[in-house]
Structures are given as C-alpha cells and as structure tokens.
C-alpha cells in the first residue's frame, strides 16, 4: 500500500488537525458550547478495507456527506459516521432525536452543513498549505453501507482512500467519525508533490 515518509505523514496530520480545529471552532459557534476535534490517525487503504472498518460486512449502515473537489487535483471527499453516531451528532447539534429513517429533511440538511464545514476546513487547510487552488461542490447526503457509499463515485475506479479518523468532543460526548478522500494515482502523486513542496518551503 501507499506509504508516506514520517515527515510527510507528520505534515499531513498537522495540516488536517489545523483544518478540523477550525471546523470545531465553527461548530462551537453554532452549538453554543465547547467543541473539540482532532485527527489522531491517518491511513491509506483500499475502498474495501475502509468499508470493512465501517461495518459493511455486518450490513451496518452509515451516514455520509460527500463533496467533490477539483482543480489542482481531483477527489471525492466523504465525512462518514456509523449510523448511531450520526444520530448522536444530530441530536447534539440540532436538539432532536430520531432514527435514521425518520431523519427529517431538515436534519439531513443540518448534517449536510456539518459535513460541508468539516470537509471545506480540511481541504482549505490542505489547499493553503500546498498553495494550490481547488474548487468545492455543495454537499450531498447519503445513507447506506460503506460499500454503497464508497462505490457511489460512479466511475470505474482503482485508487487509494486517504482516511482520517476524527475524534469529536461535544458537551462531554465523545463521538468518532471518518473523513475519507478517494485518490486515484495522479491525485496521489499530486498529493505527495504538494506535501514535499510544503515541507521544502518550511525548511527554508
């Protein structure tokens, strides 16, 4: 599987921690309470592996918000929560409590906004670090198994998934989720180049 050097790995984690930190600040303004978020771990996996982590084998359902980014490189970005966790987030951010089927249009929209904030912050942090220009779409909301969700990109695809595990803390509730980026070989190479350029800039 694709591997980064320790320094590249460190740079990428720090960039994403920056992104989710800013996202947490935005969420805390919305919810009116303390929100902290961090990225303890990133990894490069196959779609099947990610789906497995999300319980696809057991038919477990997840809630996913997706956005498409293009420009300096092209990727499909996902914010994913296991079913129960997304309900918890909705309940905390929105103050309602329903099952996934019942998740009303209004709450789906709220979840979409949460995904929008987090994905934009993550990609924004990366784009700024890389000094590159990207373009981001509006979010879309999906519910399904990991297999369904990650196969949703539509085209024939054979690349790697950059997965970030995200820790959320809202009002003493501890929730975890995942941010994932589908990267084909060109995008993966671009990613490495941009990180190297960023590191070179840092070293002065």
């Amino acid at each position: 599987m694709f591997q980064l050097t320790e320094l590249q790995h460190d740079a990428l984690i720090e960039i994403f921690n920056l992104g989710v930190g800013q996202a947490a600040a935005a969420m805390s303004r919305i919810v009116g309470d303390e929100v902290t978020m961090s990225v303890p771990m990133i990894s490069f996996q196959s779609r099947a592996e990610v789906a497995r982590t999300l319980g696809s084998d057991e038919g477990r359902r997840i809630c996913a918000i997706t956005q498409h980014f293009q420009g300096a490189f092209s990727t499909e970005a996902f914010l994913m929560f296991p079913e129960e966790k997304s309900l918890e987030i909705v309940r905390l951010m929105v103050g309602q409590s329903l099952s996934l089927e019942e998740l009303s249009e209004m709450e789906q929209e709220a979840m979409s906004e949460i995904g929008n904030i987090i994905l934009n912050c993550c990609m924004g942090a990366f784009a700024n670090a890389a000094g590159k220009e990207l373009q981001g779409s509006l979010p879309t909301y999906h519910v399904g198994t990991g297999d369904n969700i990650l196969g949703v990109s539509g085209k024939e695809w054979d690349g790697v998934v950059l997965t970030l595990k995200i820790d959320f803390n809202i009002e003493r509730h501890h929730i975890y989720g995942y941010v994932a980026f589908l990267l084909d070989m060109p995008a993966l190479n671009d990613l490495q180049r941009y990180i190297d350029a960023y590191l070179a800039k840092l070293m002065g």
Binding site: S104, E105, M106, I117, M123, L134, G136
Partner: protein
C-alpha cells in the same frame, strides 16, 4: 434580447439572488430580495457585505462568502443550524413584528468572464417546510403518547390498565357487580437480572407476561405490565373465589415455565407472588382502594414466603 430575457428571469424567480464581487460588494440584488427585505436594489448596489449586514460580520455566512471568494468553495447554511441569517420577512406584517423568514442559504463561487471571482448567494424560503416538519413531529409525539402496549412484553401497558380499570370500575358500580384485581410481583427479580443479565431478564418478563395472558379467556379480562417487574390483572364480574382460582392458575403456570433461577430464595426457578382483592364498588368508592388492597395482599404474600397467592381480607392490615 438575451439580456432582457435574463433580467426577466431574475425578476420572476422565486428565490433570493445576491451576487458579491471580489471585494464583497453587492453587484446583483434581485426583485425577490427587494420584496422580502427592507432594501431596494439602488440603495444596496455597490455597498459591501459589512456595510449592509454589520451584525453578520465574521459569522457563518460571512465565513462562507470569504471561502467562496478566496478558496473557491461552496457552502450550505441549513435552516436548522442557522436560524434566519439574513433580515428577510415573508410579508409586511411579519416585518413589522420582526418575525424573520426561515431560510435555506447556498453560497457558491461564481466565475465571471475576465473578472476576479464573484460569489453567488441563493436564498430559499423554507418556512412552509419547517412548519410542516413541526406538525409532523407533533403528530408523532402525540401518536406515541397514545400507545397502549408495553414495548417489551407486548401486553397492555400501565396507561391501558389505568383506563381499563376506570372503565370496569364504573361498570361494576353501575351493575353492582364484583370487580377483582390481582397485583403480581416477580420473586427475586433483581437477583435474576444481576446474575443472568438484563437481556435474560427482559426475556423472562416477556415469558411471564405470555403465561399470565394464557390463563385469561374472557374478553374484558386484562393482564397488564404495571411497572418494572410488576404485573396487574383486571377481572370484571369476578368474585373472590373466582379471582383466587385465576391467581393460583397464574402462579402455577409461571412456576411450570421452569425458568432457571439459581439465586431465588424460594425455588430453583422463577416464581411470582400474587395479591388479590375484590370489591363491589359503592357510590363513593375509588379504584385506589382496590389497588391498595391488592397491594397489601401482595405484600403479605411476600412475607408469607413468596410463590403464593394471598387474598385481601379486612382483618389483615
């Protein structure tokens, strides 16, 4: 011709459309925006976001505007998390009362030929959708509160029991007929739960409920789950002897389930204690006295050694 067509569309479209240039100045403010805000286009055009909306500076909308202009990112401001970000009103009445319209806002980068990037803000009125959702939620809550079935065991719940007892009590009063009540408590249930786990505890209660119902045959007889491990049975047109027979049958039925209980102080399996009371209600009588009597009898059954039936009599107090 093209231009007047587009202008016609912008005028007619039933959504707010605002366009900001790279310096956050408003360069387009369509008729819908004029109609629903207090700002006519000529007063607004050329002014910046901060000048027109000072309260919104550095808020979510402003951040989204900057993200569109600088990062080329699109943002969604959901109605649920952003209550009416723009000062917009459905009509003059609402405007006077200060009641803002519920809004769904999309903020998107806009490429304009030969000019730096602009930003398009699209605002939809979602007040109707919000009201509809609120109504649906209220109906769902109401529906749930009307439920008369205990989720775990599938038999009548406390609400249903209360209603049924009231009904039968009144009928018994009218007809001067005897109404009997059995109060039931599962013996050493806490010890069962502690040792076999709550899942088994739940299954045990469900089986007991089934056993109790199996003994009843008449349409107005009702077994209900009264509380955690308590059940109750309403027996209209039943005197003390009849109630005693039914109670004893129930006790035996549960014992014959042979649900293993190594921690019971009375038997190797799960058993129940039962208290029976009967009343021919007089004019001033209340259901409370029937319940209280059955309760006292149940207490006596526990004291006597459990796994038995006690019938309430006045002398026992």
């Amino acid at each position: 011709m093209q231009l007047s067509l587009l202008q016609g569309v912008l005028k007619a479209v039933r959504a707010g459309i605002i366009v900001f240039d790279a310096e956050q100045r408003i360069v387009l403010w369509n008729q819908w925006m004029e109609q629903h805000s207090s700002f006519p286009a000529d007063a607004i055009l050329g002014k910046t976001f901060g000048e027109i909306f000072p309260d919104m500076v550095d808020g979510r909308t402003h951040v989204a505007l900057r993200a569109a202009l600088q990062n080329n990112f699109a943002s969604l401001l959901s109605q649920t998390l952003n209550k009416a970000p723009f000062p917009l009103f459905a009509n003059a009445g609402d405007a006077a009362a200060g009641i803002r319209m519920q809004q769904a806002v999309h903020v998107m980068p806009l490429e304009v030929e030969s000019l730096p990037r602009h930003c398009l803000v699209q605002i939809g009125d979602v007040s109707m959708a919000v009201a509809r959702e609120k109504k649906l939620r209220e109906l769902a809550v109401e529906l749930e509160s009307q439920t008369l079935v205990d989720g775990l065991t599938g038999i009548a719940n406390r609400r249903r029991f209360d209603q049924h007892l009231d009904d039968e009590f009144r009928r018994a009063k009218r007809n001067a007929s005897p109404l009997s009540l059995i109060m039931i408590d599962v013996d050493y249930f806490k010890d069962y739960n502690d040792n076999y786990g709550h899942q088994h505890g739940d299954e045990c209660l469900a089986r007991i409920a089934g056993a109790l119902c199996g003994v009843l045959h008449r349409p107005r007889d009702l077994a209900a789950r009264y509380g955690g491990e308590e059940f109750t049975v309403v027996l209209p047109d039943t005197n003390e002897d009849g109630a005693l027979q039914i109670a004893e049958a129930m006790r035996a039925e549960v014992e014959s389930l042979k649900i293993e209980h190594a921690y019971s102080g009375v038997a190797g399996c799960v058993t129940i204690s039962l208290g029976v009371s009967t009343l021919i209600p007089e004019l001033a009588a209340k259901t409370g006295s029937l319940i209280h009597a059955a309760d006292r009898a149940l207490y006596q059954a526990k004291r006597t050694g459990r796994n038995c039936v006690v019938v309430y009599t006045d002398s026992k107090n």
